[in-house]
Point group: C2
Chain length 473, copies 2
């Protein structure tokens, strides 16, 4: 039962193991624990997800409780919820007690409230109370991400004594985040931090505070997961301490949860950028109705927005019937604006997410995007002018025009105007949404395109009226 390789790109270990595990469950369940002893819990979680639902409880029961809890931490929410709904409350409580405090809260958060209460009843009082406190925070804020088991020592302790506390904690079987050791002052407030490496390197007799960093990067429990992720990534932290207003350490967010938070935040941003609500579930496992709900809302809003294009065209119908060549270029003109707008909005949303630009920068961004838009507009405008002029010159045009040069000029100038306008709308919309307290990532490519479609048509027809009045129109 030794998979040949663990490279994540090759055939999943789990698919190879699941049939063996099923066989062992029938024949000699007591041997399972030793057979899979060396496997990473993440791989065992994959195996567990492949087993039939009714065998899952048997498989986890065949493992030592602490090991089963490890596996559960890596399982996907759906499978885990099914299991915890089915298990006797007492066993569920035992498994949950073996998890880290943040995972305990996550698991219970996924269950029905009644079921969660049943399980909490069966848990050790201290752990139950601690878990209930964590459950009060939103799952996407620091308080909801943190674990409450960390190492904190009195700042007056010696390095040797602090190290002894760390070793004792490691041996206790508790699941402390221990790569950062925090110090607290006489009032119990966070006063410093040192990495386990720094503690190991410090002279044994020295006071721990003298070897600690006293300027500790920290977040409040209400900080958004984006802020937590930024603190971890700007300062290369392995754990981000969560501190109350009064300066007391409440917990730490460990780097694995930071990475999960970054992934979730990014998934949300990409989905919003695509013009829909965030799924909050994997693509392959979301239900049909849920998927439609997440997509139909924005599609309908955009559709209704797009109806204004019909109004605009209806308004200019007389001009269009006099110069039907104008019709031919409608999609070209408006999609140029949508495309440049999509570029601008993606750039700004991403730069905002990375903290490269802040709301105060709107004016600098507006000036930059105006210049970019104008330059791109000139280049595309020349392309548009050339296309019309060349086609007319060679007589390839489907719709002949009496004033080919003027038509080409109309197209060129309209493209210039629409592309510039698209860049401006695309770059300013995220700032506007943020100002209104909304998520800037909602300034999706389709949203920008729709805004630019309607205004782009107006620009196009105004340019046409200005250039063609008295000749074609």
């Amino acid at each position: 039962m030794t998979p040949s390789s663990r490279s994540p790109d090759e055939l999943p270990v789990a698919a190879l193991l699941a049939p063996d595990i099923l066989a062992l469950l029938d024949e000699s369940p007591e041997t399972i624990a030793t057979e899979v002893e060396e496997l990473h819990p993440a791989d065992l979680a994959d195996v567990a997800e492949l087993l039939p639902e009714e065998r899952l409880a048997a498989f986890l029961s065949a493992l030592p409780r602490a090991r089963a809890a490890d596996v559960l931490e890596y399982m996907n929410e759906d499978a885990r919820t099914v299991l915890f709904e089915a298990l006797p409350a007492e066993i569920a409580a035992q498994l949950i007690e073996h998890m880290t405090p943040d995972d305990r809260a996550d698991v219970l958060d996924e269950l029905d409230e009644d079921r969660a209460d049943e399980i909490l009843e069966e848990m050790d009082d201290d752990k139950a109370e601690e878990t209930e406190q964590l459950l009060r925070f939103e799952s996407d804020e620091a308080g909801g991400l943190m674990t409450t088991e960390y190492i904190s020592v009195e700042e007056t302790l010696s390095v040797e004594a602090a190290l002894e506390e760390v070793r004792a904690a490691a041996r206790s079987g508790r699941r402390e985040a221990m790569y950062a050791v925090y110090t607290r002052d006489a009032q119990g407030r966070l006063s410093g931090v040192l990495s386990l490496r720094e503690l190991l390197a410090a002279p044994p007799g020295a006071k721990v505070l003298d070897n600690a960093w006293t300027e500790v990067v920290r977040v409040l429990p209400t900080a958004d997961r984006e802020e937590v992720a930024r603190a971890a990534s700007d300062y290369d932290l392995i754990a981000v301490p969560v501190v109350s207003e009064s300066g007391h350490l409440m917990g730490v967010v460990t780097v694995d949860d930071v990475i999960d938070a970054i992934h979730e935040e990014q998934t949300e941003d990409v989905q919003k950028l695509g013009g829909m609500e965030a799924l909050d579930e994997p693509y392959m496992s979301i239900g049909f109705v849920d998927m439609i709900k997440k997509r139909v809302g924005w599609l309908s809003v955009l559709f209704i927005g797009s109806l204004f294009t019909a109004t605009v065209i209806g308004y200019f119908q007389e001009e269009l019937s006099r110069a039907d060549i104008l019709t031919v270029f409608i999609p070209l003109i408006i999609s140029s604006g949508g495309n440049s707008g999509s570029q601008a909005t993606s750039l700004i949303i991403r730069a905002m997410a990375l903290g490269e630009i802040s709301p105060r920068d709107w004016w600098r961004v507006a000036r930059r995007e105006f210049q970019f838009g104008l330059t791109l507009g000139v280049l595309l405008g020349i392309l548009g002018f050339a296309r019309v002029a060349v086609w007319e010159w060679f007589g390839w045009a489907a719709v002949a025009s009496s004033h080919p040069a003027l038509i080409a000029l109309t197209i060129g100038v309209s493209v210039l105007g629409v592309v510039t306008f698209g860049s401006m709308v695309g770059s300013m919309l995220p700032f506007l949404l943020r100002r209104l307290g909304l998520d800037p990532a909602s300034a999706s490519a389709p949203f920008v395109a729709t805004l630019v479609d309607v205004t782009g048509l107006v620009i196009y027809f105004m340019v046409a009226l200005a250039v063609l009045s008295g000749t074609v129109l």
Copy 2:
């Protein structure tokens, strides 16, 4: 010089400190090191970036070399490159020697080759050679991300002896990644891993291998950064070991570099999704010409693609002049397809990036998206039908039609067809690009929209011909 708070959301510490530092540089540079002793190097890097270029070298010289090297690791590439071009090669070499091996390679990689060689000449031979080896890897693969300073012990060692090696390494002032301790067999191949926590918890007399995990998640030096990030995130690793084909440990990618890699990968994906090349530089610092180059390529391709819409409309010009009401709804119809396509492509690209779906899943995805597209198309089609029917009914329509019901039907059916088609194109294009060996993220929202614009018009006019032939047309 103690900033009141370090929360990353408040006014940057750096802006407050930079003027003080400048004053101290003039008055008493020897006091700077102690004044900023407690600050995180990330904050000092921000200060350094705010100083005038010509004072930067003086500031870093006022710090101990190891501390200055720390600060340099957090500085942005541009400022760092300017500095390293200007410093005497000898001092540059000293600073670089104090960095971790992966950062050494990063810094030299950013310099002119001649300048990098000059600095390598001045470096300690061992370190220079090691750095040159790292420079051979691409900066976005495991070999280019890894550091070569890690802790590896012989597997037959006792836990106590292994711990002694860790403490010695911590005290040596070298910069090993030490939260994971690797064991090697008699042939020097990677045989196991245990976390520093597990080493601290293990019984002192036991053999280290007996306390290690022998199934070690690993990557090859040529693995893409996406694969490294996935290994770290699937298995909650603090360091990902990079192992040669023969099984020898070559280095480790630490979690801070994993987070940076995730951010860079995501930035690339969002920018490509927006319909442009990845910038590879922060939005605010990229040069004007570079920005135009990154944007104009795709815009031109899309513009030229869009020209086919003119061809299609030209082809159906006769029908349009007979039923000019059809013109009114052109933008509405084609943007519905673009919007549903944008949703589908964002969903699939993100699910691919997360490893939720693999190329083998294309058929399942196609079937799902066909169903989603059809459902969304029916809903929007009804909306479109209703809009036209109601407007005609109340006589609000700008362009009166002799057969309002048939026009409404044409719009409804066209929207249904275009939305379904958009979902299919948007979801299948990433698979197709991947199959062709291209980045699936290049299936941008504007790319999909342009494809759907052209085909959407064809669908629209075919539906119109089928429904309206003999009456309006």
